[in-house]
């Protein structure tokens, strides 16, 4: 008798949890009252620490807007490039707003939203290196941050041209790549046009210049969430549409890039290209 009672108790508990199991990520965030938002905070102006050591930047602004739209608190988690996926899978973050290039290979593993930004990949090097075209990198030591799309693009280009990988150095983070460039460990670093523009404003990089772009490549980036969370990704997509429609995108752009968002950027985001 007791055993039957215990069994039915256990079964009803299981039934109860399975009712709960219909709650998806969107419900979870709303019920929790906090949005755990992952941002890469060594990638100015998209994510960085401001003078008061607080997270700031374009991506952080998007996190806060998203939390406000959901009516919850925003909790920013600092990630490296390599942490982005593990943080989602382990449930530490609900969404990563971290300039993630939306390759089809990656989309097999993680859920992408519509694009929210488009970068160009560019070379930064000392002025005296006088790099005019991307092919001038042939015999130079080149570095980039490990696990980024610009690393992949550079390596693919180098392979196509038969340059080999002996001249290439991977750095663990964006900051380390710039440190290596500053110290002269590498002759040039590949990064995004936005990050390079920010770095060139600082006194340390006054003898450096932005060089050519990686040929024929637009880096289109999206927000990422767990692939299975269809409803949550739909919400995020609508959020991105609203960021442009309500002018928030332009406000953040203005704040972090010092001008209105270019019309072609806005148009390509509207077209979801």
């Amino acid at each position: 008798m007791m055993r039957k009672l215990a069994t039915s108790l256990v079964l009803s508990c299981i039934a109860f949890t399975s009712v709960n199991a219909t709650a998806d990520q969107l419900d979870t965030v709303i019920q929790r009252g906090t949005l755990n938002c992952g941002v890469v905070l060594d990638f100015p102006p998209m994510g960085y620490f401001d003078g008061n050591n607080q997270p700031a930047g374009f991506d952080v602004g998007y996190c806060n807007d998203l939390a406000a739209a959901l009516g919850v608190e925003s909790n920013i988690l600092n990630l490296t490039w390599g942490d982005r996926i593990p943080s989602l899978i382990s449930g530490k973050t609900d969404v990563v707003i971290g300039s993630t290039s939306d390759t089809l290979e990656r989309a097999k593993s993680v859920g992408f939203t519509y694009p929210y930004f488009v970068f160009k990949f560019q070379v930064i090097a000392p002025k005296n290196k006088n790099i005019q075209s991307f092919d001038d990198l042939k015999n130079l030591k080149v570095g980039a941050a490990l696990g980024t799309t610009y690393e992949t693009e550079y390596l693919a280009y180098a392979e196509k041209k038969g340059w080999g990988t002996d001249n290439y150095t991977a750095f663990k983070s964006e900051n380390d790549a710039y440190l290596g460039l500053y110290q002269g460990k590498v002759d040039a670093v590949i990064s995004t046009n936005t990050n390079i523009a920010t770095k060139l404003q600082s006194a340390e990089f006054k003898d450096f210049a932005a060089g050519p772009f990686v040929p024929n490549y637009d880096d289109v980036v999206g927000l990422i969430a767990k692939r299975s969370e269809g409803a949550w990704i739909s919400y995020l997509n609508l959020f991105l549409v609203h960021q442009i429609r309500d002018g928030n995108m332009n406000t953040h752009y203005n704040k972090h890039f010092g001008s209105d968002a270019p019309a072609d950027l806005i148009q390509s985001l509207r077209d979801n290209k």
Binding site: T17, A23, D24, D27, S109, T169, D176, Q183, G184, K185
Partner: protein, 241 residues
């Protein structure tokens, strides 16, 4: 939501939202990249074997210096051991790469990691060796001398063979440590097993799969080292450990 596999009836596989672990493992992408992973594993083994060999040679010298009455040698050895043993390996590797870089000395990632590992191995092994040396009674030294052997001959034929036998297992531990710590090479962009894994996972975002396979590979490497060192010890010491 189509591809989602939930386990609502399994109370052990629930996350915060009450859902099952909704992750499907894709192993094929890892196996497609196996040649590159094996290449990374080779670099890991390569750097740790070299770091171990160089570390042993330096540690023997440092241990002798430390037991020496001559002050300058003793100071150098003590400083080396104290710094190597009381600062994190991560710090050593970073200093070898970016620290020396700030002084205009540019080591390649491989050399930076190798020198940091040699530095630490030598520091730890010095103390092990010193213990080994001191466990051999001084009388043996005097006795050999009285037989007309030179100091070098005493160390070569009498002291070192006994000492190496006694410290063989602690030395194997240090070797395993060295293999595992070489994974910090990822910090300075060295293409060893961890660095290669990190790069490959960023292409497909199959992070869990890649790092799980890398962990298994580390396990196999260290097991192989342990087994071969125990086989070697049987041959060297004829079971007298």
């Amino acid at each position: 939501m189509g591809a989602l596999i939930k386990h609502p009836s399994d109370p052990f596989l629930t996350t915060e939202s009450g859902q099952g672990m909704d992750y499907e493992f894709h192993w094929n992408v890892v196996f497609q990249n196996m040649p590159e992973l094996l290449n990374g594993a080779f670099v890991t083994l390569h750097v740790s074997v070299l770091a171990m060999l160089l570390g042993i040679v330096i540690a023997i010298l440092l241990a002798i210096a430390k037991m020496n009455n001559s002050k300058p040698y003793c100071y150098i050895a003590t400083t080396w051991v104290e710094i190597a043993r009381n600062t994190p390996a991560l710090f050593q590797i970073y200093m070898a790469y970016f620290g020396l870089g700030a002084l205009g000395i540019h080591l390649s990632p491989y050399v930076a990691v190798l020198s940091a590992l040699v530095f630490i191995n030598a520091g730890y092994l010095t103390e092990t060796f010193r213990g080994g040396f001191q466990s051999i009674p001084n009388t043996q030294y005097s006795a050999s001398k009285s037989l007309g052997m030179t100091s070098i001959q005493v160390y070569r034929y009498i002291i070192l063979p006994q000492m190496l036998r006694r410290i063989y297992h602690p030395m194997t531990n240090q070797f395993v440590w060295s293999i595992l710590m070489s994974s910090l090479g990822i910090l300075v962009g060295m293409g060893e097993l961890s660095g290669t894994t990190q790069r490959l996972q960023s292409l497909s975002f199959r992070t869990l799969e890649f790092f799980m396979v890398a962990a298994v590979m580390y396990f196999i490497i260290t097991k192989l080292v342990l087994i071969s060192s125990s086989l070697l010890s049987r041959k060297l010491f004829k079971g007298e450990i």
